[in-house]
Amino acid sequence: MPDRIMKVGLFIPCYIDQFYPDVAKATYQLLKKLGCELTYPINQTCCGQPMANSGFSNLTKGCDVNFVKNFKGFDYIVCPSGSCVLHIKEHLKDGGTPAELEKIRQSVFELSEFLVDILKIDQLNASFPHKVGMHISCHGQRGLHLSSMSERVSPAFSKTEHLLSMVKGLELLKPERLDECCGFGGTFCVFEEAVSVKMGEDRIKEHLVNGVEFICGGDTSCLMHFEGILKRQGSKVKTIHLAEILNSAL
């Protein structure tokens, strides 16, 4: 871990703030315990991705401006969502000078890459004695390269798996199609409802075959989609964010 205490801004996606506060709490507590000087800028809203991915990137100026206002001046900005981080990295375009925007784009990190690449943690006092299925979220994987990708010819690695390997008692189980998309896809989940649900059901099926108790992921949006399907199916299997596992019994 770096010697200096770092000023870290906690970036919580809007839907996590509103619907999944436990994921945000776990992220907050975890980073605090790991020694970060952590602030949650209280006027943050949304990164703007829902509009941009729907073709309305012309409407994201307000979100950009608000984001920059909230997150200027941190050493690092950390977020428990690969998707929102990728959006900031690729599409933040307003709200500051080009240098300010570049600094933000460079200093925004998804939680697991921050833990592995910046804090370089190699042990965790966490325990989660359960069978856990891992869902790899596309934007974190193919966008932020949090793990190797099944399509590419390259050495295998996974930052998420590296972190989960430090958790006591956890049995990690992988679905047969290691990195197929869950079908959430932002507004895709409602505009292409049939395909979206079918994709989600197919992913879940592979986890159920493995007998998992939890499906874990780094993006709550994928998990929310799974949770909706699992609940409708009356399944006992639960979804859980990576941060909640890493923070368990820490």
Binding site: D17, Y40, G186
Partner: protein, 454 residues
């Protein structure tokens, strides 16, 4: 004819879940074969990089390479025709047919002729073409269009093929044996090859330095037609050019590994000049390609070598079928090519994706397909091809998310409504709720908790 939007057609497709699963698994099997094949080449990623650079370079110098290709081809005795549009392409081919008073024509697979609707055009003039690729032959008998550019009949099971052949080729009813069915088609097609007077083929690669071109098939049907008929018409888009023959060493290695997991197509046939007594024609088609070349964000879609790896990997394609894309080229690559041909008619296609990015990862020429899908969405909205409901919704959402206080108030009220009057959202007007439960709305947001606990 009313064309169904992708989402509606996909919903129809998925209604038959067993068939959807079969379609998905069949194409996933092809994707897996591809993975195994590419992992035998440690230099795979380097090959992709080279292919991408060669294509980028060629597209940046397309005028030069096309001219030099034409010059060499003409020197070799090939008749070169230029077609600005699909209509020109069809007219040129019709004229060759009419001038030579031909009525026995076989065609091997060419997605360009499908794009130009050549079969329909000629049929309206009383001329029948026989599609000699087995998959294309099957869909032709069924009066359908290909649902996949490499595997045109992948939407059909052998039972379907058996019924079609029973109807048209008088095969035994209920005999699904693939060997029996393929054998019957082979027998029938063999006679058509022998009597063919004119053979139409596509072009996979046109070599600027030699004026020759390469046609890849697994069935040898292009060769059968061309060697038997006295007239060969090859049709190619302007983007099929590569500068040198040695570049085939890159592209031929990438093409079939990406497409089917084979090291190379069974037949990679090189055509350089007509044999004695043969007429060889080459129709070089633009049909919107130069317009795409002029769009900085989308020009590199023209690097495509039509391997369809992006189809096979696409979780949306596998679960919605090729016909739901209502275009000759379906799948992710089709979704970035088709809006160039008709932005309004194809405005749904760039949204038929979760932007998962798997397509860009398998692309052998490194087209940034998922980024272009994102960019086409912006383009389509900017051009007004978006529903009013979505437009109003997005404006509302942007307004809420721009103002922290409003965001918090709307969030608080929204959560309260969800807890107190769940039926307001839990009904059939909400597409999320149709097959999924809504998330549980907590009393407090994270921000509320943070302010109390920091």
């Amino acid at each position: 004819m009313i064309v169904k939007q992708h989402a509606d057609a996909a919903q129809e497709f998925i209604k038959d879940e067993a068939r959807t699963d079969w379609h998905d698994e069949t194409l996933w099997f092809v994707r897996n074969k591809r993975d195994k094949a590419v992992n035998t080449l440690p230099e795979w990623e380097i090959l992709r990089e080279w292919a991408s650079h060669i294509k980028d370079h060629t597209l940046s110098n397309l005028d030069h390479y096309l001219k030099s290709f034409e010059e060499k081809a003409v020197e070799n005795g090939i008749h070169v025709h230029w077609a600005a549009t699909a209509e020109d392409h069809n007219r040129i081919i019709h004229k060759i047919i009419a001038d030579n008073k031909i009525d026995k024509i076989v065609k091997s697979k060419s997605m360009l002729t499908e794009e130009c609707h050549l079969n329909d055009y000629l049929q309206n003039k009383g001329i029948q073409i026989l599609d000699s690729d087995l998959g294309e032959y099957i869909v032709q008998l069924r009066k359908e269009t290909p649902s996949h550019i490499v595997l045109p009949a992948i939407h059909l099971k052998r039972q379907d093929v058996s019924e079609t052949f029973h109807e048209h080729l008088n095969t035994e009813k209920g005999n699904y044996d693939p060997q029996y069915l393929a054998g019957t088609a082979r027998h029938y097609l063999r006679d058509r090859f022998i009597e063919a007077e004119l053979a139409i083929t596509g072009v996979n690669f046109a070599i600027a330095e030699s004026g020759g071109f390469v046609v890849c098939t697994n069935e040898g049907n292009a060769d059968m037609g061309v060697h038997s008929a006295n007239i060969h018409i090859a049709c190619m888009g302007i983007e099929k050019i590569i500068p040198k023959a040695e570049h085939l060493g890159v592209f031929l290695r990438l093409l079939t590994r990406s497409a089917t997991g084979q090291p190379i197509t069974t037949f990679s046939s090189h055509f350089n000049k007509p044999r004695s007594g043969q007429q060889m024609h080459l129709v070089i088609v633009d049909n919107g390609r130069s317009r795409q070349l002029g769009r900085p964000d989308f020009r590199n879609s023209l690097k495509c070598i039509r391997c369809a790896a992006c189809f096979n990997t696409c979780p949306v394609y596998r679960r919605s079928g090729g016909h739901s894309y209502h275009s000759t080229v379906a799948g992710p690559i089709g979704s970035i090519l088709n809006p160039n041909l008709d932005m309004k008619a194809n405005s749904d296609l760039p949204f038929a994706s979760t932007l998962c990015g798997s397509c860009s990862n398998v692309c052998p020429v490194k087209i940034d397909i998922h980024d272009q899908l994102w960019k086409w969405r912006q383009e389509i909205v900017a051009n007004g091809y978006v529903g009013n409901g979505k437009k109003v919704g997005m404006h509302g959402m942007a307004w809420v998310l721009t103002n922290p206080k409003i965001y918090r108030t709307v969030g608080r009220i929204g959560r309260w409504v969800m807890r107190t009057f769940p039926f307001i959202l839990n009904n059939k007007l909400n597409p999320w709720y149709k097959q999924r439960e809504m998330p549980q709305a907590p009393q407090k947001s994270f921000r509320d908790w943070y302010k109390e606990n920091q």
